[in-house]
């Protein structure tokens, strides 16, 4: 039985550098849901999010020798994911006249696809679906710099320090961007939380 599941991310990455595909497999196991999730929150396209996540892991493998052992693996892989996602957004904007924020909001309706079945009644399910759709659209419509911070913090649960490392911004800026982004979200979501 492998002891890979007890290794740290950085140790696994070192094994990847030595050519261990099993170590990559363990990293995929650990990070796939988080990477897919963060990408999905940007582009609201589940199939494309999976494809981009695959590209993220391909890049991790292809560029494994360029990984700096002093750097935290999580910040490295999220940086790759964010950059690839932004490339996707740029590509969409460039190649589609309608793929603006409005376009992103429009495809945000896919968010209902991800409903968990919690054995509730159809009406409750519908309400939950609608609410998740509203929340997804609200996130998608945030200005990019606030969306980056909020998605990393609130969707991925990263620390302020990790968010700062990934976005290359100082701690004070992280704090203000997260706060500002959340205040915008609060305003958009107020009708749904004030009752």
């Amino acid at each position: 039985m492998s002891d890979l599941d007890r290794r740290t991310d950085e140790e696994l990455m070192n094994l990847c550098v030595e050519g261990s595909e099993e170590a990559l497999g363990e990293l995929v196991k650990r990070y796939k849901p988080r990477i897919v999730s963060v990408i999905y929150r940007y582009i609201n396209d589940p199939i494309r999010a999976e494809e981009i996540a695959q590209e993220v892991f391909v890049r991790v493998w292809v560029h494994r020798e360029k990984y700096r052992r002093t750097a935290r693996f999580s910040t490295w892989i999220f940086t790759i994911a964010l950059n690839l996602t932004k490339n996707e957004i740029r590509y969409r904007v460039r190649h589609s006249k309608v793929m603006s924020i409005e376009g992103l909001k429009e495809i945000g309706s896919n968010v209902g696809f991800f409903l968990k079945d919690r054995s509730r009644g159809p009406e409750e399910k519908l309400e939950e679906r609608e609410l998740q759709e509203v929340v997804g659209n609200a996130i998608a419509s945030l200005p990019p710099k606030y969306r980056d911070a909020v998605v990393l913090r609130d969707i991925e649960g990263l620390s302020y320090e990790e968010v700062g490392e990934i976005l290359s911004i100082p701690g004070g800026t992280v704090r203000s961007r997260i706060n500002r982004g959340r205040l915008i979200l609060k305003k958009k979501l107020e009708p749904y939380v004030s009752c």
Partner: protein, 244 residues
Amino acid sequence: MNCKAARKFFSAAFDAELSVSEEREFKEHLAGCSVCSREFDLFAKSVNLVTSLPRPPADPLFEQKLIHALSAEKAVTRRPQPRVSLLTPRPAVAFVTVLVLVGLLVMVPWSQPDWESGLVTRELAVSERAMNEFIAAQLGVHESDNVQVASLATSNLNDVLDSPGERQPISDGELSFWVRGARVTSTGQPGDAISLLNDIANRSGAVFEIEFVLDPFLFEGAEVRRLDTRPASAAEIELVSMTF
């Protein structure tokens, strides 16, 4: 603490990131301010809504597809990137470059480039000085002209340039953009490119908004891309890429 200051603390309070003294002030304010107290309650509820969003379902074939993608990647032979040179330190070389450039300017018809396909129809390799002269000539302005200073969002880049540590040094890079149908490319340090962009912006009135992205693979470079450009009416300027 007043209401405005209290609201700046909402996130930090929610995440328990306040210092002891900040937390005490914050709680005291909320205890005496029903409006902020209600706002913080709504704030917390909205954040909880966001954090409780479910993750997308896992694709059971993800690993299989990834193995396939990795195999395909191994089979790919990357085309070598052509390196367009050249900053020219010697005046004679610069002079020759300018002459070549002038010759090209005569030959190049000023048509709109093929934006959709992204094809580079004409590529000029020039020194920074020659490029400046080229741009100035095309825009019909001179260095002495008092033109409107356009904004150039370089703060992030400057932060990195000024920051010590592992991201230094920033390697040589490449700046490319279109001027009236010709693609102009220059190599050098980011500072050179920023100066050049400033020049272009100053002379043309064009506005460049630049996003700074660290190279996630090298941890030592930067990628600066155009977010938006407002071409001057007299000359179409399109920043193609700026990569370091």
